[in-house]
Symmetry: C2
Subunit: 366 residues, 2 copies
Amino acid sequence: MTTVHRVFNFAAGPAVMPLPVLEQIQRDLLALPGVGMSILEISHRSKTFESILEQTEADIRTLADIPSNYHVLFLQGGASLQFSMVPMNLLEEGQAADYIDTGSWADKAIKEARKVGQVNVVASTKSESYNRIPAAPEISLTPGAAYVHMTSNNTIEGTQWKTLPATGDVPLVSDTSSDMFSRPIDMAKHALIYAGAQKNMGPAGLTVVIVRDDLVAKAKARAFTLPTMLNYAVYAENDSLYNTPPVFAVYATGLVMKWLLALGGLPAIAVSNERKAAKLYAEIDRTGFYRGTAAKFSRSLMNVTFRLPSDELETMFLRESTAAGLDGLKGHRAVGGMRASIYNAFPEAGVDALVDFMRDFERKRG
Amino acid sequence: MTTVHRVFNFAAGPAVMPLPVLEQIQRDLLALPGVGMSILEISHRSKTFESILEQTEADIRTLADIPSNYHVLFLQGGASLQFSMVPMNLLEEGQAADYIDTGSWADKAIKEARKVGQVNVVASTKSESYNRIPAAPEISLTPGAAYVHMTSNNTIEGTQWKTLPATGDVPLVSDTSSDMFSRPIDMAKHALIYAGAQKNMGPAGLTVVIVRDDLVAKAKARAFTLPTMLNYAVYAENDSLYNTPPVFAVYATGLVMKWLLALGGLPAIAVSNERKAAKLYAEIDRTGFYRGTAAKFSRSLMNVTFRLPSDELETMFLRESTAAGLDGLKGHRAVGGMRASIYNAFPEAGVDALVDFMRDFERKRG
């Protein structure tokens, strides 16, 4: 294998994958060992793939300590399709769903849910440019709501929930697209979580949904009206094999799960993620030249957002950092500035390189 | 690169991919040339991916001679999701949709459409075990129907349309999941075609939809009620980049399109597909030991279905063919028997090997 040049990839997703996983995919690309065909060619009904799927589910259950009354489902369509599937499966006539509006993606989830039924926005930090997660007293839940929807990490604004909202008996549904499996999760406090794989888990093209069985039963009752492909119960009853799943993305995600387990699981990756983020935030706070955009108590460990003193300096920073092999630091077009996405697979060496670059840039231009 | 052992893969999909495409994917897996990151890691908003997506669309347009008033869309969810999206986008209140029932997949499309609106089954060969495509006089279309839905190739039953039904001004919608880009297609006679990529085009996880702009306009009018991710207009207006597309599957499909173009495009691959199928059907018809299950005038060039004189012989045939490196010949559980799927990328050497095996098997057991 010839040596290849790889840059540090700070993209918000699709994002960097673990190099050992890429190497294994590459090694076996023409034919899986003992199978005689590529993972890109095997039938989803083959023993080989059934075993890959089962192992991936088992590894997810081990990693995140998923209780047995939860289903682990593999879907397509990303979080954006979940914005519709959640209310289509869970919001009944005469009920309302509570949404906590903490960012651009939460807002999209709200817009889609409103097409399905009644939505109450029970807290919002929109008027503060979504720079923080609301405090508990600011959230007034609707009695008897079908569910409460939250966004655990706000990729665009760089904020993240530190303590879950207390929803009592009302099912908590969380869009964990940008922090699933980046830290331990108390699944029993959630009724359903979902995430596109392309940030912490694998390549784009796979959506993971973990859902409690009483919610699956609710979905099942709608089998006669709900499109089959949008019904959680269909995935649960068919082990995500009702139709052809995204075989390769499941396989690659399975390899990433094994990589996570070998590292020590979610407690270990959380320590690594905290250390990486702490280094970056320390540099942001060091002199005041850089300015973090998220309130300190809401800062995301995944997406570190910051500004420079002027638009000119930001343009210069972006140009020079890209040239230095630090790619993808441009903030989302909706908020501007910089964003360093440092998911599970992002190497600490890349964080160190960015800190060095920031220090150097400030010395030259500050 | 070490030599790998590859079997002949007759699976019905996901199915065999062109070896040069697999080799290119393998070579560039750690980092695309000049990009410094893997195709599994690049942002869908990057110039690199935008150019991959544009090139894939352009190559599809060239390959299939797609008129400029048609959109080429890249989605997820497979044909099964299209079973719902087609009526959700195109079937208006007070209208009916006509469905031609030629197999198990057509039947599933009908069931999903019935959840959305009024469906007329305007022809069916169900009572004949779907062993043929209905003749033109058997199809009585509904005046003013929203569209007519057909299944161009019936993967399970091994039948294929040779002449399109005449639908006049009524839009013709075709599920071409198992024969898209296996032969030239007269797009102007269709209003919409769709296919999962995993048979003739690429790996599982990508759905290609080609749709005329007046149907997109119909979809657009439903933006306030239809889930965003289920609206064709959203894909058309955002160049399939409303949310994160299945990046890798688009890339791999793009490479297959280039492979097809280099071979001489759809006329050339059609000649190859006809030659491969003719060899197999000739062997099936040679003595009467094997029995083709599809009526001769409806025989599929993609899925060649046949039976042996007894269940015992079929079991033996399967065991011995698998051992001989001819994999995936078991027919669909719904119909039994054998099925040799010989899509675009299936090598003629594999057909020759199967013919030899069949002849040998008949000599020994016939």
